[in-house]
Amino acid sequence: MRISIGQKLTLSFLLVSLLVGILGFVGFTNMMETAKQIDVITEQETPALIKLTEIKSHILEGIEEAFAYPLLGDPVEKTEFYTNLEQFDASVAEFREIARIGQPGQTEETQLFKQIVAAKEALKIVADNMFESYEIDGRVNLSQVAAFESEINIVVPLIDRFLEIEKEEVAEAREEINATIANAERQTLIVVSVAVVVAIGLGFLVSRSISIPINKLKDVAEELGKGNLGIRANIKSGDEIGSLATSFDQMAGALQQAEVHRGILIAELEDKNAELEQFTYTVSHDLKSPLITIKGFLGALEQDIVQGNTERMQADIARISAGADRMSGLLDELLELSRIGRVVGSPEEVPLGEVAREAVALVAGLAEERKVRVTVSDGLPVVFGDRLRIREVLQNLVENAIKFMGEQPDPIVEIGELQRNGESVCFVRDNGMGIDPRFSQKVFDLFDKLDRNTEGTGIGLALVKRIVEVHRGRVWVESEGLGHGSTFYFTLPSKRGMPHDD
């Protein structure tokens, strides 16, 4: 699952914000709840209470006046009484509005209200009677007073009851508010706790998901720096650090390969170096030899002159000359050999058949002289390399074969190709003197020759080996032994794949 670090962070913050939002929401709803309940108290309960108190005071005042009238005989009292009753009615009507009497859920209140209104009417009727009696009799009727009093004892408690109810409702509302607040506290606490835990948890997780891989990369980098190139970060997370780690591991892999390659190059270099040392040693040693000859016979010549030995003189001069020639030839072929290692012409397709025939043509003189037949089979492959050098290889091998024919009465040299182990191998085969198997590797060594009686300085085969190896091929000889002929095998690349100049 690929989630980038940015996405992880954004998600975490969103989650925390969500929790904060929930918190806000909780607070808000609770506040609305509380406000509503406060409203009820202020808009409804409190005005209701005030109105009820008004109603009560009106009725009490009225009652006072009702008693005062017969006592004092002042008609104002009677008027006041009825005024109060009117005010009572007005207040009751207002109360009815405020308290929402008649609404569903107010059964007790509605009942009570009706009772109060009825009680007031009863009271009024009794008061009317009482006043009438007084006015007619000039004194109060005690039974009517008693009736009036009992009416009072009905109405006032009713009003008190109502007051109680309203006060209860206020208390209830207050309770609810407290409950709401307590609720709000609890919810807030829960949400805040959750939010804190989530925030810490997420923070921890996200930072871990960043810093742990980064630390791992740091450690791996240190290890790589110490030379331990096999180590890898192997971080599989799907985000940017994961892809960094992948690239990092690829880099480590490349470093490792480069190191291996370097090792190979160093080994090759060491080989080349050893070869060069060997070469230098051989060269200095083998140039010294003819020099000893030359100087030696110069001295011998002096003696010959002193002794007057003209025969010996001529022989010795001849040896000196031959020695000098040998040195010269050696130097030429050395130059040729060292050049082959450095410069190979630009590689091209070389049809071996053609080149073989050219090489044979070049040694035709020698072949005829020795009565050696040279054949080139058909179907020789097309190889890839330096045409001239490859021709030199064939020329040298054929020359070699011709020279080492020995006593063979019917000398033949064959150039051909065969398949061996799935690879195309070319050969130059002769039926000449063969090679002692003990020395089959030595033939290619610089300047080594198995039979000093033949001419040449022996550098030909070394040249052959060098050329073939520069083409990344192999060359070797097989012979069943002295008198059984020998076959020189070599391989050359068949397609593009030549290395750069060594």
């Binding site: 040693h285 016979f297 011998a300 020695g323």
Partner: protein
């Protein structure tokens, strides 16, 4: 001290050098018989009396072997090793006479119990002097069993 027929086996592949050495030794009248072979195989055949050298008459025991190192067929050090490995032959002093002054060759010869190691000088006078001293030392002064 002269009078004994002294035999020398010269193992040298370069015919010119062989000629110089032979002349150098003969001119001083030191050696009567010098037998010359041109490669390592012939040298061992001679000493072990094999092949064409089977006849002891033809291949008398030499009193000194002069051995070049860089030989065709069988290398000089190998010849040395075989001589010194044989109970009879190892008594014969073998003097390595070569153009090489390489440390590895000197060490190799020593490791294989060469009796002496000489480097062919380029200067003719030195060469003659060396042949003289060589002959005198090994054939006149040195006692043979």
């Amino acid at each position: 001290m002269q009078g004994k027929a002294v035999q020398i086996l010269l193992v040298e592949d370069d015919p010119d050098h062989a000629e110089l050495i032979i002349r150098g030794l003969q001119d001083n009248g030191v050696a009567n018989r010098i037998h010359h072979v041109s490669d390592g195989e012939a040298a061992l055949d001679y000493l072990f009396r094999r092949g064409e050298y089977a006849d002891a008459e033809k291949s008398p025991r030499p009193h000194l072997v002069l051995l070049d190192l860089r030989l065709p067929k069988i290398d000089g050090l190998e010849v040395l090793r075989e001589i010194k490995a044989d109970e009879e032959l190892r008594r014969i002093p073998v003097v390595v006479l070569t153009s090489s002054a390489a440390e590895s060759d000197i060490a190799g010869a020593g490791d294989n119990y060469a009796n002496s190691y000489l480097v062919k000088p380029v200067e003719f006078d030195e060469f003659r002097r060396m042949m003289q001293d060589l002959g005198f030392y090994w054939l006149v002064w040195n006692q043979h069993p």
